[in-house]
């Protein structure tokens, strides 16, 4: 059990901030305010935030915004960022065309 286990723990009200419209995830255009709001809706892990808002799911797969998102979520939950697991890195490292991926074997006609 830690501070993130009981999802009914009171983390206070969502209070708007002047820079809430700042874009944090550039690939998917997700703002700081959207991330903060999602935390207050109950999404307390990076994986949940990513699945709901798509931040970190764009072309760079979160290589730019992952740390920023973690900081915002941790502040909102009033916990150490170290408590938040990063989202899973997924292959391929860079976008790859389907017909390139398909050529796993030599004799394919694709």
């Amino acid at each position: 059990m830690n501070e993130l286990s009981n999802r009914s723990r009171d983390i206070g009200e969502f209070i708007p901030q002047p820079d809430d419209d700042m874009i944090v995830c550039r690939c998917e255009e997700v703002t700081k305010g959207e991330i903060r709001k999602a935390v207050h809706e109950g999404l307390w892990t990076i994986a949940e935030i990513r699945r709901y808002l798509r931040c970190g799911m764009g072309l760079c797969q979160g290589q730019t915004c992952a740390k920023l998102v973690k900081g915002i979520v941790a502040r909102e939950l009033k916990v150490s960022p170290a408590l938040l697991e990063p989202a899973t890195s997924r292959s391929p490292m860079r976008p790859v065309e389907m017909h390139v991926f398909a050529k796993e074997t030599e004799d394919t006609d694709l």
Binding site: L4, S5, G42, T88, R90, V96, E97
Partner: protein
């Protein structure tokens, strides 16, 4: 120790939806989740199909109920967009043998009242002009569709939480215990939770947990692997599948395509605690896709993912009360096609808890339907 009217084990879409409908009835619910993440199992790792076609007739009634009564207004009901589309399911064939397979499936589904029919190449092209000329026909179910499993799962969680359901993550259930002849206590590594009813919706982990109270569920885990492309211009909204199961999938609201598929080794993959992609699966899915939707050959894949499905020995889940263990309700073994029926399952589970008659026929999904093959065939003396 915490107590509630109902303890739900598993915060996937089945557990979260059950919790939501139970809370709507005014019951106090605690949901226990082994992972630190809500919906981290099969609920977030599936193709998003909301279909009736291609299913075993035993689970068609609950699929039809949800598609008629729950999915169309689910986003409004929960207050979050679940990206539901009802634009039909095409299951494609390239050979007469494929069409035979598809027709058999379609006939079985028609027999229980589903509108699914065989269509020819021209009609297929009319519905989806992007398909290869090699497609000679398909089965077509116009009322099927798809939704976003990531969002739908979290939507049920967030809506249930708003109704006062307590979700506790990182709780690995080690045992269910009887108290005065009734299943009542759920023991985790940290605590004991007590409830008048216990709903077991923990995917494949349900087998081990049910085993602690003497019930065995004949299921195994199977690896599911998918790929996701970058956003493409809008092409089509149907859910696609093939007779040969080369691939399945759809285009999302975001524009990316999500496609799953198989290599034939799904039952024999390693489990090192984390589902990982095998190097041969995504290439195999790509080949399947390109052979049916040639235009996608240049689409870029941005990621791939894997997950475990809980496969029942006869391919349909258990949704039932256990007679020998009063208080215990099972909702597991969805065999890779639980997402689309989750709203219906949540509704029915809430009715089983409150002793109401289920809104649809679930008599084929009982826990005690498993017999040795000779008995099942009526040959035992």
């Amino acid at each position: 120790m915490m107590t509630a009217d109902v303890i739900v084990i598993g915060a996937g879409i089945i557990g979260s939806a059950s919790a939501y409908y139970l809370a709507k009835k005014g019951l106090k619910v605690i949901v226990l989740e082994k992972s630190d993440i809500i919906g981290n199992g099969g609920s977030s790792r599936n193709g998003g199909g909301v279909r009736q076609s291609g299913r075993d007739p035993r689970e068609i009634p609950i699929a039809m109920y949800g598609i008629k009564n729950l999915w169309p207004h689910l986003s409004e009901e929960l207050g979050y967009d679940v990206e539901y589309h009802q634009d039909g399911n095409l299951r494609l064939g390239k050979t007469p043998k494929h069409l035979e397979t598809l027709k058999k499936l379609a006939d079985k589904a028609s027999a229980v009242g589903l509108d699914v029919r065989m269509i020819d190449a021209d009609e297929v092209k009319e519905i989806n002009p992007y398909l290869s000329d090699e497609v000679i026909g398909a089965s077509w179910c116009p009322t099927d569709g798809h939704a976003n499993p990531l969002k739908a799962t979290l939507a049920y969680y967030m809506a249930a939480r708003k109704l006062g359901v307590t979700f506790i993550t990182g709780q690995d259930v080690t045992e269910i215990k009887k108290i005065r002849g009734k299943a009542r206590a759920v023991v985790t590594q940290d605590d004991v939770y007590e409830g008048d009813s216990i709903v077991l919706a923990a995917g494949f982990a349900s087998r081990k947990i049910a085993g602690t109270i003497g019930i065995d569920i004949p299921m195994i885990s199977k690896l599911i692997e998918c790929l996701v492309t970058e956003a493409e211009p809008p092409m089509f909204n149907q859910m696609l599948g093939t007779a040969e199961a080369d691939f399945y999938g759809h285009q999302t609201n975001h524009g990316s395509f999500v496609f799953g598929g198989s290599t034939g080794f799904e039952m024999y993959k390693k489990d090192n605690g984390t589902p990982v992609n095998y190097s041969d699966t995504v290439p195999c899915i790509c080949r399947g896709i390109i052979r049916y939707v040639p235009q996608l050959r240049d689409a870029k894949i941005v990621r791939s993912w894997a997950g475990w499905s809980d496969n029942m020995s006869d391919g349909v889940p258990i949704i039932d009360k256990v007679d020998e263990v009063p208080g215990l309700i099972l909702a597991c073994g969805f065999t890779g096609h639980g997402f689309g029926i989750a709203p219906g399952v949540g509704t029915v589970i809430s009715q089983l808890v409150t002793d109401e008659d289920p809104v649809c026929d679930i008599s084929g999904l009982r826990y005690d339907r498993f017999y040795a093959k000779d008995v099942a065939a009526g040959k035992a003396v």
